[in-house]
């Protein structure tokens, strides 16, 4: 089966793509049997780990809040490999939250800085 996301040729029984981690259930007509009590991922979903954004906020915005995002990104991949779909989804959500926290702090800090210096500049001009 070819992965619809990255085109990698996977084994037909593969649950997730070995290359990009996308869930490969799209062709299955019936929902997968829940034999062992493991929650199967819904068809056609992927669990993003937001690693790129975590690195962006850590290194390119000088923000320590990006570190937890990197840690959760690592957990997403580890749990996906272990077959823990729910755990991977939870870690993915946490990674996303920390990326947005970093982005918010960076945006707020920048606006705050511009406000202070803008006010200082105006006073200087007057």
């Amino acid at each position: 089966m070819f992965c619809p996301q990255c085109g990698t040729n996977n084994a037909d029984i593969a649950a997730v793509c070995v290359q990009c981690g996308r869930v490969l259930q799209a062709g299955t007509p019936a929902p997968p049997l829940n034999v062992t009590g493991v929650v199967m991922p819904p068809a056609g979903t992927t669990v993003p780990n937001y690693l790129v954004f975590a690195i962006l906020t850590t290194v390119f915005c000088c923000l320590p809040t990006g570190i937890p995002a990197i840690i959760f990104a690592a957990q997403v991949n580890g749990k996906l490999l272990a077959g823990d779909y729910a755990g991977a989804q939870a870690a993915s959500n946490n990674a996303k939250i920390w990326c947005w926290v970093s982005f918010g702090v960076g945006l707020f800090g920048t606006l705050f800085w511009i406000l202070i210096f803008g006010a200082g500049m105006l006073r200087h001009l007057r």
Partner: protein, 140 residues
Amino acid sequence: MQSTITKRTLAALFIAAVGLVLLRAFDPARSWIFPPCPVHYLTGCYCPGCGSLRAIHALLHGDVHRAWAMNPLTIVLLPFVAYGLFSEILVGLRGRGLPQPRLSSSAIYALGCMIVLFGVIRNLALVPFSLLALGAMLGF
């Protein structure tokens, strides 16, 4: 009709383009429009990302040596981050990204440790680590 995700991608692209134009036009070392690193501002220590804006500013002017001296980690990670971001843009525009390597969790932990470690050793007053401090390779 464009989907929400396409519109968001286009908006993000626009903001990024404005940012890059500003970053090329104004030197973060001299201009006040770019905020200082909060870590350096509060503690006086260089964080892993200190100098990244100056590094990209130097890159946008074609000065690779200066960019490397400002923040080598940024230059090392930049191609990977650029590839990942380009893939995200493609996902937003056509619904399918570029092939992504599936990093193992230990590889990502190692990457995180490398970033933190870089932030620590560039504050040490010991050659060769002190060369990693902001601009040290330029003789600041």
